[in-house]
Symmetry: C2
DNA sequence: CCGAATCCGTGGCGATACTG
DNA sequence: CAGTATCGCCACGGATTCGG
């Protein structure tokens, strides 16, 4: 729909080039991963997510969930009870993604110290402005 | 601590919690991954990177390289020749990261169609604004 | 050839308030 | 309980210009 997309905004241009970017774009959000992790154990309710994630706002929780749902990574189930109840659950694709992300976690933990030291070293040499003056 | 933590800006709060975020934060940049990929084959010069990446500006190439260098992911070697020559090379840590990222690529390629369809389906149901008015 | 410095637009995200 | 709507900040990144 809508032939006149004046913007095209990356997507078509970039998407084909590198599939990694595609993944990263949808995981690089500030909260996406934490939601995936929090929901990894099984179906979880909105408020439970909100409390288990610490620091997330209602707004961002909603937005991120919507995006994940849109990408087919979570399913949203509404129970029309008296106090509304909504459960979110990871799809198969998301669970596979979650596993893959754990490889990254491993890497991060193995290299965390190394990176920290690298930074420290770099910052020491390249003193911000030390204008010895 | 922190008398006036008007912002605190993530970091201290988030860093410890999830190592994945740490990785993502330094890979989520628009160009980081592409640089890692481009430099995966071996040492590569600044201008070579600039041309092989397509669409990157000099500024972003420099900035991203600096960050990667700071994190100990690339080494920067300057040859004080007449026309300056600078080569960038991945460190061991970066090469391991690069491998890990390929798992993500695999996932992306396996689920690319699924995601596209999910999006299409979602966008069809949740008609943007169809305000039938 | 390899950068650094400046200006500026875009959008991700937080804070707050309102709804069914 | 589970959202939606509105606002405003600011980091990311693009364009351009200057320098060794």
């Amino acid at each position: 729909m809508s032939q006149r997309n004046t913007g095209v905004t990356v997507q078509a241009v970039n998407a084909h080039a590198c599939p990694v970017r595609e993944v990263l774009d949808r995981v690089s959000g500030k909260w996406s991963v934490q939601i995936l992790v929090a929901a990894a154990h099984g179906p979880i309710r909105f408020t439970e997510l909100e409390r288990s994630i610490e620091g997330i706002s209602r707004r961002m929780l909603t937005l991120t969930l919507r995006n994940l749902e849109r990408d087919g990574l979570v399913t949203r189930t509404v129970y029309p009870t008296v106090p509304p109840k909504v459960e979110y659950e990871l799809t198969t694709a998301a669970r596979e993604l979650h596993e893959t992300l754990q490889r990254l976690t491993d890497w991060a933990e193995r290299n965390r110290v190394y990176i920290a030291e690298s930074r420290a070293a770099y910052d020491t040499e390249h003193q911000p402005e030390l204008v010895d003056a």
